[in-house]
Symmetry: C2
Subunit: 337 residues, 2 copies
DNA sequence: TAAAGGTGATGCAACGTTTAACCAAAGTCA
DNA sequence: TGACTTTGGTTAAACGTTGCATCACCTTTA
């Protein structure tokens, strides 16, 4: 529990000026081998670690990147974080993560904290119903930032997302090809555009076959919420034979609910998930789902942010990564009438 | 993309000195109502956010707390983080999270980054085989820190953990009471003392009944690793009728493996997990497991850290929270011989 | 009327870096 | 020899806060 050693201490110990010590440690300027060694030895001896706050204030650069995400306890999101973190680390940055738990005011506080500490850049997924003022905040302070998954409603920010509509379009066609006509969309919250895009994909596929009927059910992204929502759906709309879900957890929950009433997913009722989390494969009923590589998504995110940091005045870009259908056991032909 | 507004700008706008602006915004000193309002208006108008780096350098306090954990994609850990984060937030702190992915050198870098930015405090679970030098680092820089889950091998740090031995002792007794005698321990890595303590608990229970035979199998904390390890175990030691697992994921994997060879967990072979993650309840075979409240664990962690920050010279403390057995369907009497 | 006390605001140094500007000494070259 | 470059290093000014010491002014009181 000593006091933190400072650059002045190192310089003192080595018998040189502070500036010289700084140059040695940063590898800049012209320094003779002898003094270089002197300083390095002193630094090691004192266990010197530079103060990032001071360095970043003076230099104007900050090698810490902030990330605020709506949910941390989720394999998919965790993989995204790993991908982004790995790439950023290679470039000498550090990614620190905040769990917004889909709470607008919590996230607002988090973003303010990032601004206060002048993070080098920001990666975030806007919580549902994020007000315009939050986007303004970011613009006012000129912090390079990239959103992902949920497209920002206001402001001009870089964005990385998933080809949502194309994915659910494919999934719905798969169901139509199998012979389903009564299809429901399960999960997600109103006003989240990821979900709107996905529903749009379903609609487009249905319309192309002359169907314009689709039931939409809100529910949270968890297994238990999925179970409950599916039970309700089966009670109120027994005619539905296939559901497209907003996420794997909901889909797994829905499958379980189907099982609980003595039917089997993929036989009486088909289920499609989204994300292909590791859970999907090992669920009680192995899940047909839309797979995207979260790790690669994370890396892309990091790359977009770094570009933005290098080139603050580029026009905002939008990058979409594809999702592809992987068929497992929860989809099949509907029962013959 | 403007330039970040500074306190000087606010003072200027309000027509007062920098010192006055600072006092108003921090609520210190004696200020007349008129100037107070003037300054506040100016701050709001400019969208002013103070620079935490400068503030923290000058004041010596830092309201950002760092957390480094071996795995983020895990409901149990995520709940711990939520608990700690909530309590710290109430006290005006912010918790930023780093995923160490159980890599000693990655974690070392992360801790150094925390030191560089002089975080107000540190919560971390040491990666397996953390060398003494890492603990030294923390001591040299006098950063208040608390470890959890894995007890530090060196150094004198506060610690919050689980009553591991008592928990597995109870679980093993449960299995013994059901009539099992050939018991294996599945999961975890050597040199992680959480695991050693848990194995010790099993041993103690076995020894008390005159048994000193227990198979120990290493494997990572994931479903797929659990599946593989269990298949191997059944092949090499078909006499085993019960396994105690190092975590729920391994236990769920083990249950699946048992199912895959045509047996049923809780009938031919019993399985006990650890943690009681939400998955445990909804697994294909609802899991008997040892439950601890991760959210409460997180809160306790935060409290311990705050105490340490207030009272840097207290002797290091150790706090243990209990785990209790919840019986579901994966345990039962062994098949009659 | 002079000393004392209260109020509200300000000036200045400091926190630990980085970096541009500068400089002394030594080497190079015509 | 004198001018010019190179080498190796130092000085000092920032970066945006905070908090101590100070001060001008006004009111009270002996």
């Amino acid at each position: 529990m000593t006091k933190k050693p400072t650059l002045a201490n190192v310089a003192n110990q080595a018998g040189v000026s502070i500036a010289t010590a700084s140059q040695v440690l940063r590898g800049t300027g012209r320094i003779s081998d002898t003094t270089r060694n002197l300083v390095k030895a002193a630094a090691k001896k004192l266990n010197y670690v530079p103060d990032a706050r001071a360095a970043s204030m003076r230099s104007g650069a900050n090698h810490e990147i902030g990330l605020s995400i709506h949910k941390i306890a989720n394999r998919f999101n965790a993989e995204i974080i790993s991908g982004a973190s790995d790439l950023l680390e290679d470039e000498g940055y550090l990614l620190s993560v905040l769990d917004a738990r889909d709470d607008v005011v919590r996230q607002r506080k988090q973003l303010e904290a990032f601004i206060r500490s002048s993070r080098g850049g920001l990666i975030w997924v806007p919580a549902a119903d994020t007000p315009e003022s939050t986007f303004d905040l970011l613009n006012t302070h000129g912090l390079p930032s990239v959103t992902f998954l949920r497209r920002p409603e206001f402001g001009e920010l870089d964005h990385v997302g998933i080809e949502n509509a194309a994915a659910t379009f494919a999934a719905t066609n798969h169901l139509l090809d199998l012979g389903h006509t009564k299809i429901a969309y399960l999960g997600g919250e109103a006003n989240v555009d990821v979900r709107s895009e996905r529903i749009e994909g379903c609609r487009k596929a249905l319309n192309a076959r002359g169907i314009d009927d689709i039931h939409i059910v809100d529910c949270q992204d968890s297994r238990s919420a999925g179970i409950e929502a599916m039970h309700n759906l089966m009670k109120k709309h027994p005619e539905v034979t296939a559901v497209v879900c907003n996420g794997d957890m909901v889909a797994i929950g829905a499958s379980l609910a189907i099982g609980q009433v003595g039917m089997r997913p993929g036989r009486e009722i088909s289920v499609v998930g989204f994300d292909d989390t590791p859970d999907a494969k090992y669920a009680t009923y192995p899940l047909t789902t839309l797979a995207v590589s979260p790790y690669e998504l994370g890396r892309k995110l990091a790359r977009v942010l770094l570009e933005r940091m290098n080139e603050p005045n580029m026009p905002p870009s939008t990058t979409l990564v594809p999702a592809k259908l992987v068929e497992r056991e929860t989809t099949g032909a509907p029962p013959a009438k």
